[in-house]
């Protein structure tokens, strides 16, 4: 009885999962080509963030993306996770200006940032951001990898997806053609170009390299606890597998006389 029942249920479950996986593909296939899948250091059960790639990615963010995009949920202190020492983090923070106050005179004032400060964004508010960007709002990047289907592949795809528009495709003024952007018209000009930054570790700053590094940095910004999660997960699994074994043995032993 049971094996047949189980087999049918597994089949039904497989069919459901298949349908659920197929469904988004079917609906999106007409609009945009599938995102190119990249190898990420943080993929898989033992995946961790590549610190060197994150530092390069942070450099790309700092020198290019941060002109328009905030990372609202990040604090300077978080940057220690990229492999910076506390002193380095303090220096990075101090190179930015943060608004503090009000002081004794009731005035807000600027001072060098501290590690305990949130990383300040380029604009004081969304309206200012829109005004400076032709009405488009550059999204917060500290959540972008989790807030888009495809995650890091989406970020990588967009950064590499700028192409001349195909014949007959009308691109609105102030917009750019991007293969992987829904609707293909993105308000962001192509941000990366060969050699736009100089990496301290000698890595060639090609567009795919910078895109890969900044996507790694932004994946960390979205999910900073992934390293810890994966590490604890392995231990939890080992613990539970032992538990399954013990309970299975106990069940066999207790049920033996009545079977």
């Amino acid at each position: 009885m049971m094996p047949i029942f189980t087999a049918r249920l597994l089949l039904a479950a497989a069919a459901l999962i298949g349908l659920l996986l197929l469904a988004p593909m079917l609906s999106e296939a007409q609009e945009t080509p599938p995102l190119p899948h990249q190898q990420w250091s943080f993929d898989g059960v033992f995946g961790t963030y590549d610190k060197a790639a994150m530092q390069r990615g942070f450099q790309v963010y700092k020198q290019i993306c941060s002109a328009c995009h905030p990372v609202k949920h990040l604090y300077f202190r978080d940057l220690q996770a990229l492999g910076y020492t506390p002193d380095q983090v303090e220096a990075i923070a101090a190179s930015d200006q943060c608004t503090d106050g009000p002081n004794d005179q009731g005035q807000m004032y600027q001072r060098p940032c501290r590690p305990s400060d949130p990383i300040p964004g380029p604009f004081p508010n969304d309206q200012a951001a829109r005004a400076a960007n032709g009405g488009a709002l550059p999204p917060d990047l500290s959540m972008i990898v989790k807030a888009r289907e495809g995650g890091p592949d989406y970020v990588y795809g967009i950064l590499n997806g700028f192409k001349p528009a195909p014949a007959g495709f009308q691109v609105a003024p102030g917009k750019y053609y991007n293969e992987y952007f829904p609707g293909h018209q993105i308000a962001m000009p192509p941000p990366l170009s060969q050699g736009a930054v100089t990496f301290a570790d000698g890595t060639q700053a090609t567009v795919p390299q910078m895109a890969h590094d900044v996507a790694t940095f932004l994946a960390w910004a979205s999910e900073p606890m992934l390293d810890v999660r994966h590490r604890i997960g392995v231990r939890v699994f080992l613990f539970l597998i032992v538990g399954v074994g013990i309970f299975y043995a106990a069940k066999r032993k207790i049920w033996a006389p009545v079977h």
Binding site: A12, L16, L19, E149, G151, H230, I232, G233, K251, H259
Partner: protein, 426 residues
Amino acid sequence: MADARPGIGTRIVRWIDYRLPFMATMEHELYEYPTPRNLSYWWNFGSLAGIMLVIMIVTGIFLAMQYTPSALLAFDSVERIMRDVNYGWLVRYAHANGASMFFAIVYIHIFRGLYYGSYKAPRELLWMLGVIILVLMIATAFMGYVLPWGQMSYWAATVITSLFSAIPVVGQGIVTFLWGGFTVGDPTLHRFYALHYLLPFVILFVVLLHLIALHRFGSNNPLGIDLKGPQDSLPFHPYYTVKDFFGLSVFLLIYAFFVFYDPNLFTNADNYIPANPMQTPNHIVPEWYLLPYYAILRSITFSLIGIPAKLLGVISAFGSLFLLFIVPWLDTSPVRSSRFRPIYKWVFWLLVIDVLALGWVGANPPQGIVVTVGQIATAYYYIHFLILLPLLGKIERPRPLPTSIAAAVLSSKTKVTAPAVSMDKP
């Protein structure tokens, strides 16, 4: 009695138990509680659901200590939990994936009941209390999904609460009352938070009633026949406690996989975008466990005898749950277990496929073939409960039932193994 057994109680325990018979009750309900000896692993899901409810309440209370239910702060407070609260990510992922696990368990539990006729006399109230728990779970899960105040939270709240506007005359007033304003907003979030905290305890109370009803006649079993004597049953402890613990440990492995290695599989990426009343997402999709109801709701694209399509859709979606509620009276067959019902056994699997199809329909934008499949699947769902179930009891010829559980268990041990197995082959 507790004090009759040596070793179980010290004098203090006996003193208490004489006045408050807690140990004696536990002894009676766990140790002496006779349980059919032939329960399969499909009977693990009841206790699993109970444990999952406790996990949800415990993780939920810890989340509530850090969460802020205000439209301005909710999204950021959730991110704060994920980033800065010690093990906040673990508690939140356990809670969010726990909802999916809870529903998966409960759906298996319900389909098990449908397959083995667990709703039949004298367990009708037990079953109906179960359906009430399901309805409360749906309400709780929906309001919980709103709390992170992401795009899907906001728009799901808008779509689902707007359903009440389909009610004639008072509909719009009810919606305004539910929202606490003229749009989903801060008051809506506050009251959803309060109710999301309250309802799990209501569920806990109904679960208690469910257990009292269960312990009145005990579990149904894969043969669907009553216990005839002590040889048919085993004490719940240790036989089923150890079996439940084994099942629990396997379940926790699956649960842990999602929490640690794919925590966002069941959520929509859009919900990591803060709620924006000015921008509607492309596809508003509920969580997977609500997709079949959503599919039924959207499948009614026509009005009937003066009832507008929207109201008819709402009635059909709620009706799908109401049909479950009255199943004990829709199924006219005196035989409980599908093992002895040659036709119903197949009809049951058609219903499973039908519900999976409805789930697929709910996940997709309602265009082209999706609409047709949705309408056929919706019609079949109603045909199953309103026509097939009452009819089968009349026309189906059940196979002969075994004389007792012990006889069946004993015979399958010795020589009659082969027919017992082939009986279930398709």
